[in-house]
C-alpha cells in the first residue's frame, strides 16, 4: 500500500510519457448541452498505455470530455459534439462508425459503482455475451475468471460467484465494474471519478489496480483528488470553465505548472 503514495510519475522521465504513440486524439472538441456550451475547442492527446488524469474544479468540462471519448454523450438528450476525436487515427464520430463496437473498444467505469442486479459471474459475463466473444461455456468462465483476477477481485469472491453483485462492498463493487469493463478486452478504459464513492482503503486498492492495468490498457481518469492524480497518472490535463488550461507530465504539472490557474488549483486556492 505504501508504494501507491509515491507519485507514479516520479519514476518516469518527464518526457517519457509523450514519447508513447498517441492512442486517442481530440481536435477542437466542443460540446453543447442544449444552448449551453460545456467545452470550448479542446485539443488533447491520450498516449497509449499510460494513465491520463483530467483534473479541474467542478463543472470544468472534464467529465464531458471523458464522455465524448466513447460517445456516451449520445445518450444525453440535447448534447451536441463538435470537432474531431480519433481512436488509432479513426474518427469516432464518423456516421459509418458502429457506436456499439466503439464502446466495446473504449470501456467505461463510472463514478458510482453500478453493478447490474445479477450475480457476480453474470455481471462480468455480460459484455462477452452480448458481443459474442465466447463460443462455449468454458470460454465464458475463463474470461470471467481472468477479468476478476486482473481486477484483483477473484480471491475475494471466488466462493460466491453466483451471489448478487449488489451484495458486495462499495470498493468490491467498483472493482467488479472494472472487471466487467476489462472482460470485453477494451483498448481504452475511461474512469469517471472511480473512487469518489469509496473509503480510503478501497480507494488505495483501486488505485493500485489502475497502476497495474496501465501495462495493458490506455486509461483516462477524471478525478477531484489532486493526490490521486499525482499517485496514479503519468499525464495530467487541467480543465477550467470548459477550456483545457494545460497538459503535461504529471510530475511537471504538480511541481512546476506553466499556468497560474493550474498552480492555484493544485495548491488549493480555488476549486
Amino acid at each position: 500500500m505504501n508504494q501507491t503514495i509515491v507519485p507514479a510519475a516520479s519514476v518516469l522521465h518527464p518526457t517519457a510519457a509523450f514519447a508513447r504513440p498517441v492512442k486517442m486524439r481530440g481536435e477542437k472538441v466542443t460540446v453543447h448541452y442544449g444552448a449551453k456550451q460545456a467545452l470550448f475547442e479542446v485539443n488533447l492527446e491520450i498516449p497509449e498505455r499510460q494513465v491520463t488524469a483530467l483534473i479541474g474544479p467542478s463543472g470544468c468540462g472534464k467529465s464531458t470530455f471523458l464522455r465524448c471519448l466513447n460517445r456516451m454523450n449520445d445518450t444525453i438528450e440535447g448534447a451536441r459534439v463538435g470537432g474531431m476525436i480519433t481512436l488509432d487515427g479513426e474518427d469516432i464520430y464518423d456516421p459509418t462508425l458502429d457506436v456499439v463496437e466503439l464502446r466495446a473498444r473504449v470501456g467505461m467505469v463510472f463514478q458510482k459503482p453500478n453493478p447490474f442486479p445479477k450475480s457476480i459471474f453474470d455481471n462480468v459475463a455480460y459484455g462477452p455475451r452480448i458481443h459474442g466473444l465466447a463460443r462455449s461455456k468454458s470460454d465464458i468462465e475463463e474470461i470471467v475468471v481472468t477479468s476478476l483476477r486482473r481486477a484483483g477481485l477473484f480471491e475475494e469472491v471466488k466462493d460466491r460467484l453466483h451471489e448478487a453483485g449488489t451484495g458486495l462492498s462499495g470498493g468490491q463493487q467498483q472493482r467488479l465494474c472494472i472487471a466487467r469493463a476489462i472482460a470485453v478486452s477494451p483498448e481504452v478504459i475511461l474512469m469517471d471519478e472511480p473512487c469518489s464513492a469509496l473509503d480510503p482503503i478501497a480507494t488505495a486498492k483501486v488505485e493500485e489496480l489502475i497502476d497495474e492495468l496501465r501495462q495493458n490498457y490506455t486509461i483516462v481518469i477524471v478525478t477531484h483528488s489532486m493526490q490521486q492524480a499525482a499517485r496514479v497518472s503519468q499525464i495530467t490535463a487541467m480543465f477550467h470553465l470548459g477550456n483545457l488550461v494545460e497538459v503535461g507530465p504529471t510530475e511537471k504539472m504538480f511541481q512546476n505548472p506553466d499556468d497560474k490557474r493550474t498552480q492555484d488549483y493544485i495548491t488549493g486556492r480555488f476549486g
Partner: protein, 493 residues
C-alpha cells in the same frame, strides 16, 4: 335550533376566540422580556381547537345517542303493539312517520291533530298531501306526540350544552395563553389528530362495506350450502319475482368464475404485450418531446368511461368479429356461417384489454423509469444496444415492479363490469371456446339485483356471496402485488 345553526354558532365562537387569542398573544409578547414560544397565529388556533373539538365531539355523540334513547323510551310505552303481533320496529317507524307529519302541519291545526284518532289524522294528512302508513293505530298518535316532545327537549338541551361548551372551551383556551405556552406543538397534535381521523374514516368504510356484505352472505349460506355454491357447475338461480312462488335454483359459482378468469386472461393477453412495449418505447426509446405527447394521449384511454368501451364492444367490435368470421368461414369452407358470436369471450376480452393498456403502460413506465440511470450507462458503456439493455438489464431489474403492476391490472380486469355486461353475454356456460358467449361474476351480480325483486330470497342474496368472493380474489391479488412491491423496494434502497 337546527344542527347546521348550532355548528354555525360554534364556528362563530371559534372565530371570536381566534381573534381574542391572537390579540392576547400579541399583547403579552409585546409586554414581556421573553421571546414568545409560538407565533400569535398558533395561540389563536389553540383557542379555536379548545372551542371546536370538545363541543363538536359532544354534538356528534348527542346526535347519535339521542334518537336511540328516545326510541328506547317509546318502545317501552308500546306493550299493545307486541300483543297485537305487529313488528315493534315497524310500529316505531309508523310513530316516526306520524311525528314527522305532525310537524309538517300548520301551527293552528297541531293541537287538534294531537288529540285526533289515527283515522282522522290520516284524513288531515291527506289534505296536506303528507303520506303516512295506512296501518297506523290510535295509540301511535299519542306516542308520536310524546316522541316529538322528547325530541324538542333533547334538541334544546343539546343546543344549550354544545354552545356553552364551545364558549367554555374558548374561555379555557384563552385563559391558558401565556408567553411560554407551547401552542405550536399543541396545534401540531391537533393537525395530526385530524389526519388520523381522515384515514381511519377511509379504513372504517372499507370494513363497513365488508361487514354489510358479510351478513347478507351468511344469510345466503344459511339457505344454500357453501359446497354447492363454490363447487357447483350449474348456474340456474330460478326466478324470484315479488309474490311469485320462490323456487330454489342452483347456484354454481364455477361457470361464472371460469368466465371471469377466461375473459380477464384474454384481456391480459391483449393488454400486457401492448402496454409493456408501449411503456418500453416511452421510457427507453422516445425522445422527451415525443414522450411528453404520447404518454398523456395514451393515458387518455384510461379516462374513457367503461360503459363507452361497452358500447364500442357491442356496436363495433362484436359485429365486426362476427362478420369477419363469417367471411373467413365462407372463404375456406364455402359456408358463410359465423363461428364467432357477436357477444363472446373474445369480444369482451379484446375490448377490456384495450381498456387496460393505459394501466399496464403507465404503471410499467413509472417502474422502468425508476430503474437507476447508472445501470443504463453501465450497459451502454459496455457497448450494449438499447434492446439488449432493455432485455438484459432493465426488465430484469424492473421485473418485480412490473409483476405487481400486472397483478393490479388483473384485479381490475376481474372486477370490471360494464364491458362484460354489454359484450360477454349472460349465458352461464362452461366452455373453452373463446368465440362463444360466457358470463362473469360481475354480470350475474348485475342480473340478480336488477328488476323487481325481494331482498330476502337466495336469488338476490347470492349477489352478496358473489360480491364477497370477487372481493376476496381481488384482495388476494392486491396483497400479493403489495408484498412484491415491498420486496422490490428493499432491494433498491
Amino acid at each position: 335550533m337546527s344542527t347546521s345553526a348550532i355548528i354555525a354558532i360554534v364556528l362563530l365562537i371559534a372565530a371570536v376566540g381566534f381573534t381574542l387569542g391572537y390579540r392576547k398573544s400579541q399583547r403579552l409578547a409585546a409586554g414581556s422580556a421573553q421571546k414568545a414560544h409560538s407565533r400569535a397565529v398558533y395561540h389563536g388556533m389553540f383557542v379555536v381547537s379548545w372551542a371546536l373539538i370538545p363541543s363538536l365531539i359532544l354534538l356528534a355523540g348527542w346526535l347519535i345517542a339521542s334518537p336511540a334513547l328516545i326510541a328506547a323510551d317509546i318502545h317501552a310505552d308500546m306493550p299493545e303493539a307486541i300483543e297485537n303481533g305487529t313488528n315493534p320496529r315497524l310500529a316505531y317507524q309508523m310513530v316516526e312517520g306520524i311525528g314527522a307529519g305532525l310537524r309538517a302541519l300548520p301551527a293552528d291545526e297541531q293541537d287538534a291533530a294531537a288529540a285526533a284518532s289515527a283515522a282522522d289524522l290520516r284524513a288531515m294528512f291527506q289534505r296536506r298531501g303528507i303520506m303516512v302508513a295506512s296501518a297506523s293505530e290510535d295509540y301511535m298518535v299519542e306516542l308520536a306526540v310524546k316522541r316529538n316532545r322528547l325530541e324538542d327537549y333533547s334538541r334544546i338541551a343539546m343546543s344549550a350544552v354544545v354552545i356553552l361548551l364551545a364558549v367554555a372551551g374558548a374561555a379555557y383556551g384563552l385563559s391558558q395563553i401565556a408567553v411560554r405556552l407551547r401552542a405550536r406543538n399543541q396545534v401540531e397534535r391537533v393537525v395530526g389528530g385530524i389526519l388520523v381521523l381522515a384515514s381511519s374514516i377511509a379504513i372504517l368504510t372499507t370494513v363497513g362495506i365488508i361487514f354489510s356484505m358479510l351478513f347478507e352472505t351468511i344469510d345466503f349460506f344459511g339457505r344454500v350450502s357453501p359446497t354447492s355454491f363454490f363447487f357447483g357447475t350449474v348456474w340456474d338461480p330460478g326466478f324470484a319475482a315479488a309474490g311469485a312462488d320462490p323456487t330454489v335454483g342452483q347456484f354454481g359459482l364455477i361457470p361464472l368464475l371460469a368466465g371471469t378468469l377466461y375473459i380477464a386472461f384474454v384481456a391480459m393477453l391483449v393488454a400486457v404485450p401492448i402496454g409493456l412495449f408501449a411503456a418500453i418505447y416511452m421510457s427507453e426509446y422516445a425522445s422527451r418531446g415525443v414522450r411528453s405527447t404520447v404518454k398523456p394521449l395514451l393515458e387518455l384511454l384510461a379516462g374513457i368511461p367503461t360503459i363507452v368501451y361497452g358500447f364500442f364492444a357491442l356496436v363495433t367490435v362484436g359485429p365486426f368479429l362476427r362478420d369477419m368470421s363469417a367471411q373467413l368461414n365462407g372463404l375456406i369452407t364455402g359456408n358463410y356461417q359465423n363461428f364467432i358470436q357477436a357477444q363472446s369471450v373474445i369480444t369482451a376480452g379484446i375490448v377490456m384489454g384495450v381498456m387496460l393498456i393505459p394501466f399496464v403502460s403507465s404503471l410499467s413506465d413509472d417502474i422502468i423509469t425508476a430503474v437507476p440511470r447508472s445501470l443504463r450507462d453501465g450497459s451502454f458503456g459496455l457497448g450494449a444496444t438499447r434492446s439488449e439493455t432493455v432485455k438484459r438489464v432493465i426488465l430484469p431489474a424492473a421485473l418485480p415492479g412490473i409483476v405487481s403492476a400486472l397483478l393490479l391490472t388483473a384485479s381490475r380486469a376481474i372486477g370490471e363490469t360494464m364491458i362484460v355486461v354489454l359484450a360477454a353475454g349472460v349465458a352461464a356456460r362452461l366452455t373453452l371456446n373463446p368465440f362463444e358467449a360466457m358470463t362473469t361474476v360481475t354480470v350475474k351480480i348485475v342480473n340478480q339485483l336488477t328488476g323487481d325483486l325481494e331482498f330476502n330470497s337466495p336469488q338476490t342474496l347470492v349477489a352478496f356471496a358473489l360480491g364477497i368472493t370477487l372481493f376476496a380474489i381481488t384482495l388476494c391479488l392486491n396483497i400479493i402485488a403489495l408484498v412484491i412491491v415491498r420486496k422490490y423496494r428493499e432491494a433498491y434502497e
